[in-house]
């Protein structure tokens, strides 16, 4: 047991002190600081923006005033300016940059306004769309006016319908999740998905590379002659998990304290931490840890099969596919949590941490379902650990080119007791 801690400490500290760890942590922290200050950064760039001026050639003499009025209310970065002169003259001014564009307004046969917007920035549709919408409203007003319809009638026509979704109580007294709860769950599920995805890829990779490295440098033979391979494998998995938690924890603490400092909980509420039940957090932690353990055990097993660093990537591709599939299923499930496909996949251990968590967060499923899936995961991890430990024991003594299945068998044979 003592040696377990030595290996654990070693895999933690040597990584912790390494340059790559310090640099990636620094990048993470910079990213979080940047995200926390995203509003000020955006504003910083916004202030430099000058207001765009659109020239208006009004051949109707009546539309300009009401158009200017409504644009002013809407967007203070765009102002309209009446222009007297020919279209070609203004186009010259647009080219020289004085105006962003020119709007020509005229009447058609039905005495309703038509507009035509000339600009040299066709890609930027925000101004033209805005102008079109405003002109549309003026046209509607004018057309209804001509038809003799009262203004109040129009308002009532266009007023949005009042529509509420009310959750009906179930037989057991609970209600379906409200829209706010769903949104908050969705935010948490998103975070969980990305965290697990990144953790498995980054730290799982680290485990596989670490083991392959010890094998290719042949330290492994000394290591396994001094302590049992199984305890080494788990010491390594847990050591690197702690390293990951350190990195993630550090990022969270910095991010959280920055947000607290700013007294600005918009992001927190947007992500839905405000009114999420405690049980969801508990599930998040359970599924995260189990998910990591499951994939890390797989990675360690495969890492022990390769003898050269170049082969690590090749061996890990199937696992990458697994986690990507899990990710895609859960992205699909975010919008269709009730789908029976989602329900079935949530019991497949490789998908459980993401998909079952999604269901727990977004649906009201009976208590036994997540518990069953957790049990399935624990059993799978145990089986994988037993197989993994045997493969590890045999695999670390095996050198040569890796060709997965064959090596897998060979490694098992090497570690055979009989």
């Amino acid at each position: 047991m003592n040696k377990f801690w030595i290996v654990l400490g070693h895999s933690y500290w040597t990584r912790f002190k390494s340059k790559s760890f310090i640099i990636t942590t620094a990048i993470f922290l910079l990213f979080v600081i940047g995200m926390a200050n995203i509003q000020s950064i955006v504003e910083l760039f916004d202030q430099e923006d000058e207001t765009d001026v659109v020239a208006v050639i009004d051949n109707t003499d009546t539309v300009f005033d009401s158009l200017e009025e409504s644009v002013k209310q809407l967007d203070n970065n765009v102002t309209l300016e009446a222009y007297d002169g020919s279209l070609s003259e203004v186009e010259e001014l647009v080219r020289s940059g004085e105006y962003v564009g020119v709007l020509e307004i005229a009447y058609n046969q039905e005495n309703l306004p038509v507009g035509s917007y000339h600009t040299d920035q066709l890609a930027n549709t925000s101004i033209s769309t805005m102008l079109e919408n405003q002109l549309q409203q003026i046209k509607v007003a004018m057309a209804t006016n001509q038809a003799g319809v009262e203004q109040s009638v129009i308002q009532s026509i266009y007023a949005p319908v009042s529509f509420d979704t009310v959750a009906i109580e179930k037989e057991d007294g609970t209600t379906a999740k409200t829209e706010e709860e769903l949104n908050s769950a969705r935010g948490l599920v998103y975070i969980m998905l990305f965290l697990l995805y990144i953790t498995v890829i980054v730290y799982g990779n680290m485990i596989a590379v670490d083991i392959a490295n010890e094998k290719s440098s042949r330290v492994m033979e000394i290591l396994i002659s001094s302590s049992p391979p199984v305890s080494q494998m788990f010491a390594k998995i847990i050591g690197i998990a702690l390293l990951g938690l350190t990195q993630i924890g550090l990022t969270f603490i910095v991010g959280f304290s920055l947000m607290q400092q700013k007294q600005d909980n918009e992001i927190l509420t947007a992500l839905g931490f405000a009114d999420t039940p405690i049980s969801t957090f508990v599930y998040a932690i359970i599924f995260f840890l189990l998910g990591y353990l499951l994939y890390a055990t797989l990675m360690a097993m495969l890492g022990s099969l390769v003898s050269r660093m170049e082969d690590v990537q090749q061996m890990m591709t199937p696992i990458m596919f697994l986690i990507i599939i899990a990710f895609m299923i859960s992205i699909f499930g975010l919008n269709n949590p009730d789908n029976s496909f989602i329900a079935i996949t949530s019991y497949i251990p490789f998908f459980t941490p993401m998909v079952m968590f999604l269901r727990v967060g977004m649906l009201d499923i009976p208590f036994w379902q997540p518990i069953l899936s957790i049990l399935i995961m624990v059993v799978t991890i145990t089986i994988l650990a037993i197989i993994g430990a045997r493969v590890y024991r045999g695999g670390v003594l095996m050198y040569g080119r890796a060709s997965s299945i064959k090596d897998f068998k060979k490694a098992l044979q090497l570690s055979k007791k009989e």
């Binding site: 030595i6 042949r218 000394i222 002659s225 001094s226």
Partner: protein
């Protein structure tokens, strides 16, 4: 108090790496383990260390099977050198020595003592990848012996070292044996084995072909070497009954003869043939025994 292998067999699928090997390795001695490449030496070592389990038979040390509870008393220098290239020598040895049950505070003084002995005290804080192969080998050796093991297994300890360093390591090995460590070591260098070992075993295709005390082996081998240097052609000597082999070179030839008595027949045959510069009867070298017993493929 000894290491015992009883009828040990290891099969990989249909391939038999070690075939019914029985050995008794006495305590506090240096035991030589010889064999051509692929003869099963490393597999045997791994079974002694408990890294792989024998298909049949058992390995015992002081009457008990070797498992991880004994790993603190065992030192191992694997054939393929392996160290963490990115770690400093001190970090490396501290980690490996702690895995052999040493206390952190005892490691650095012991390491410094060994580095002094190998005349490389300045390497304490250097990264392993900055050291030359030979110096890495010294570090590897230190990692195998720093915890004063009772049983030390050295798989080809002297390869890649210059003669000065070989002497230095040999001395260290002898000192360890004198201080009570049982050492099993393998080598391709017959000279090293002849010099260091009292008992030895030659393996071929997983079987021990020669096994016992060095003197005993030489005596029972029977065949002797006879060197003849003369001014005339010596080709006719190979026709004398009892001469097993002849190897000619510029000054004369080396004969392998079945027994001492044959030398006298050779002497008679040489009589009156011309001027003889050298006529010398010699004990067989371990090299001769090895080539004879472990196959022609080895040179």
């Amino acid at each position: 108090m000894s290491l015992k292998l009883e009828d040990v067999t290891k099969k990989y699928g249909t391939f038999t790496a070690v075939d019914h090997l029985s050995l008794e390795i006495p305590e506090k001695q240096i035991f030589g383990f010889l064999g051509a490449n692929g003869a099963g030496k490393t597999t045997t070592f791994r079974m002694i260390l408990g890294l792989i389990d024998p298909t049949d038979g058992q390995v015992t040390w002081n009457g008990e099977t070797i498992d991880y509870s004994k790993s603190n008393q065992i030192g191992y220098l694997p054939e393929e050198r392996g160290l963490y290239l990115k770690l400093k020598v001190s970090e490396q040895i501290i980690y490996l020595a702690r895995l052999r049950g040493m206390k952190k505070n005892d490691i650095i003084p012991a390491l410094k003592k060994w580095l002094e002995r190998f005349k490389v005290p300045e390497y304490l804080d250097k990264k392993v990848e900055e050291l030359s192969k030979g110096n890495q080998q010294k570090i590897q050796f230190i990692s195998a012996v720093i915890h004063n093991p009772k049983l030390l297994i050295l798989d080809e300890p002297f390869t890649g070292l210059d003669p000065v360093n070989v002497e230095m390591l040999k001395e260290a090995v002898v000192d360890l044996a004198n201080s009570g460590t049982s050492i099993v070591f393998s080598s391709h260098q017959m000279a090293h084995v002849e010099e260091l070992c009292e008992h030895l075993c030659i393996m071929q295709h997983g079987k021990p072909v020669v096994h016992g005390a060095l003197k005993e082996i030489k005596r029972s081998f029977g065949k002797k070497n006879l060197f003849v240097h003369a001014d005339f052609d010596l080709d006719f000597l190979k026709d004398i009954p009892g001469v097993v082999a002849i190897k000619k070179y510029t000054e004369g030839c080396k004969l392998q003869i079945e027994s001492e008595a044959i030398s006298q027949k050779v002497l008679q045959a040489l009589h009156d043939k011309g001027f003889i510069r050298r006529f010398e009867l010699e004990e067989p070298s371990l090299n001769d025994i090895f080539i004879e017993k472990a196959g022609e493929s080895y040179e």
